[in-house]
């Protein structure tokens, strides 16, 4: 069966984004298992054609792309995304726009122990036409002093680019963004001036990050 959970677990372990926050969040009931226990939205739905015949493994998804059931499948996937973000994780909220179910208002709380602690950062997330074959688009709306986030809020994070996998969940993406706040990586910068500051004088750079958090990210 096409199970997102197991694939997610293996990917979560290999891309180095696993943080204590993610571990504790995984103890909460998994959105997929909630879905699976509800007869109305059994995951097997995903593997059936409009004629009801069973299809095998994830290749079924590609086959279905050319069939009339496509709209149903897309609606299901977006619905799945909504289930995933209904209660994503502690310190993270995500709410879809009424007039565009692919577009979410997101908030992420700055992780404790980071210069972004106590900040509430606004972001926006969009599931493009090609989702889940293409990654969601995510951007900070709140100004932030971070080497991997540029002036326009664009984020340099591998899973939002070449390391994207259709098996990754929205909540995993948002947890990874939150984890990025705890682990700035000035060696792979998107904001070169901030990265230079972080490399040359990390303490002073963190001071600026704290100031910006206080100035722009406090409610």
């Amino acid at each position: 069966m096409w199970c997102r959970c197991t694939v997610f677990e293996s990917i979560g372990d290999c891309c180095g984004t696993r943080q204590s926050g993610i571990d504790s969040a995984d103890k909460a009931p998994h959105p997929i298992s909630v879905l699976a226990s509800s007869p109305a939205s059994s995951p097997s739905l995903l593997l059936r054609t409009p004629h009801g015949s069973s299809q095998g493994k994830s290749t079924a998804f590609y086959t279905l792309l050319s069939r009339p059931g496509l709209i149903t499948i897309l609606a299901f996937l977006i619905g799945l995304a909504h289930n995933q973000v209904a209660d994503p994780a502690p310190g993270i909220t995500a709410a879809p726009h009424d007039d565009n179910l692919r577009y979410f208002d997101v908030t992420i709380q700055g992780p404790d122990g980071s210069p972004f602690q106590q900040g509430i950062f606004k972001l926006e997330l969009f599931l493009p036409e090609e989702y889940p074959m293409a990654p969601p688009k995510v951007r900070f709306l709140t100004k932030i002093y971070h080497p991997n986030i540029d002036k326009l809020g664009r984020i340099c994070l591998d899973i939002l680019k070449d390391k994207w996998s259709p098996a990754l969940q929205i909540r995993t993406v948002l947890l990874s963004v939150q984890a990025l706040l705890s682990a700035p990586n000035p060696d792979d910068p998107l904001a070169p001036d901030v990265a230079k500051h972080y490399k040359e004088n990390e303490k002073d750079a963190q001071r600026v990050s704290r100031e910006w958090t206080q100035q722009y990210a406090s409610e």
């Binding site: 969009f126 599931l127 951007r139 002036k151």
Partner: protein, 138 residues
Amino acid sequence: MAKVPRNFRLLEELEKGEKGIGDGSCSYGLEDGDDIMMSNWNGTIIGPGHTVHENRIYSLKITCGEDYPDRPPTVQFLSRVNLPFVSSTDGRVDTARLPVLANWNRNSSLETVLVEIRKEMATLTNRKLPQPPEGSMF
């Protein structure tokens, strides 16, 4: 069909503009690289050859409102120019008189606005219109 929200649409346009569009006769970019809402843009048009506009460089200000791209941007020439759809007092482009703005749809973009204005400069009637001194500004 997925409807790309304003901000992600403008990010796409920004990235396209940074790479350079067409033959380089039109270009655009953010007025202020810090403008997280990406509202204010600068555009440049190099006047088309074999017209009175040849070799002139025109600067424009383009403003994308909250409803962009459902609604067209507002466009204003900063360089003085004599064209029927441009106000001779402040350089504002009359949306109703420029087809790309009047018949705006989501497939239109900052690029198509500039490219269409440049085409207008080269029409039979507009290519010979007397122009203000080169380099003068509104």
